[in-house]
Amino acid sequence: MSAPTTIFRRPEALRDAFTHYCPGCTHGIIHRLVAETLDELGLRERTIGIAPVGCSVLCYNYFNCDMQEAAHGRAPALATGVKRVLPDRIVFTYQGDGDLASIGTAEIIHAANRGEKFTTIFVNNAIYGMTGGQMAPTTMPNQVTTTCPRGRDVNTAGWPIPVADVLAQLRTPAYIERVAVHTPRYTVQAKRAIRQAFQYQAENRCYSFVEVLSTCPTNWGKTPNESVQWLEDVMVPYFKLGLKKSPDRPPVE
């Protein structure tokens, strides 16, 4: 009998730590995909990550690389500061939807428009998680949250902002894709996109942005399984998955 072979292990870019994320939340999967990518591309030791404000503010407890923690919404500004003074390092921001799509709208649009050579992992779970389930710019029409207890009224709160599609409108070259991680098939695609994003940065090609649809069972008031179903039934039809923009190809219509 041959010696046992390790076929699955914690990436070096993840620390050995207990998670603070809720059961059924997909932040952990997304962390892992980023960490696997840093390992596979050999980037961990020259990477600086920027944590947002929100559930993933503590992501520096998990990523085993240099990390900074930003003020709410300002991660792209910090990343710009780091990347401009250390252009040969790898810089990424990891941001949620309240952080990136609301208070940090100006920072993300202008970082993308300047073509800053860093990578953004945008986790869209259609709600503010850490503060306890308030309406986000990405909250779905009629979705109930603590600050839209009768459901999001698109007449007064507008429609969910499709950030990846909005950023893809900019003329500046970029890599922009929207993915999901609620099934193994989607997760495999998400891994490919995240890896592609870091690859473009490593080649100093362009700004890269991956929007990842994510679950929030706690604040959606659903079980993990119901959350996966809701994401598939409600979010995926609105937040269309796929490549939005590539430095290699014209945008997909």
Binding site: I48, I50, Q68, R74, A77, T80, A106, E107
Partner: protein, 360 residues
Amino acid sequence: MPKKLMKGNEAIGEAAIVAGAQAYFCYPITPQTEIAEYLAKRMPEVGGVFVQAESELAASQMIFGAAAAGARVFTTSSSPGISLMGEAMSYITAAELPAVFINIIRCGPGLGGILPSQGDYLQAVKGAGHGDYKLLVLAPSTIQEAVDLTIEAFRLADKYLNPVMLIGDGLIGQMMEPVDFESCVKPPRLDCSAWATTGCAGREPHIVKTLFLDPNVLEERNRRLKAKYERMAREEIRFETYGCDPPPDLLFAAYGTTARVVRTAVDRLREEGASVGLFRPISVFPFPDDALRQVAHQPQVHNVLVVEMSMGQMLEDVQSALQGRRPLHFYGRGGGNVPAPEELIDEAKKLLGNGHGGKK
């Protein structure tokens, strides 16, 4: 290099380059935009970083990122922009990083106007942002002093791992005066290898953060900041006296450009035989309380007159320093008006009486 005639804003920009600034992030706002224009040309020439940000919020947070990555960094703005930078000041102080902020103050509140003012004194010394923090604040009164203190600001930011702010009223930015860069000394490079986020090759990862949910851990950091400010009060007090030996009957207190107008008034009053002098704080946080008391509490000093281009802000620090032991008076101009020497002479004469004090 002989003395060079330079506009204050450009001189401040050049001073930052002499100080070895590696990155500058900015947003245009009058009356300091020439600093950005000057550095847009100069930073690339010296291999530095120049970025025009989308807002003062972003510019100041870019400073945060670059400072944490170990670069010598600074930004400049004027009053409304500094309000937006208050956020980053709080975070950078909390993270204990060196950075320099320069405020070429315009008159307010609100959009106010674009003319000179000293209306941001309290914002500077008490803090534009949230939480228990302070900046070390320096206030030049000439272009040469603005140059020297800009360079000094970078050294002090490194020394204390705390942001340092230079405040100049609009005149400091807009005036032209001869300046000398020859005697300027570039502060040594800070060794930030123990904390800078530069990639973790060969070491454990560095984390620069300001969230501390454990009250005891956060309180310990609060105490550390307090100790830092107490050390500043011991080691960084800067001030100048003029006409204070022998002690004057009437002591003016003023800083920045206003102090230069006061100086003119003091000269003219002394020509008339009046006993007047000037106390000029240069560090306004830490404020030179003891030094001011030592001058003002001499028995010969009967009145203290604070002059500002505001409705009375440094006045609060002077009041606190004097502990009510001398009659305190105030003369302020607003809206961008600069007090004329004649106005100050008139004010002084009211306090000196007809006998001009010195002759009583």
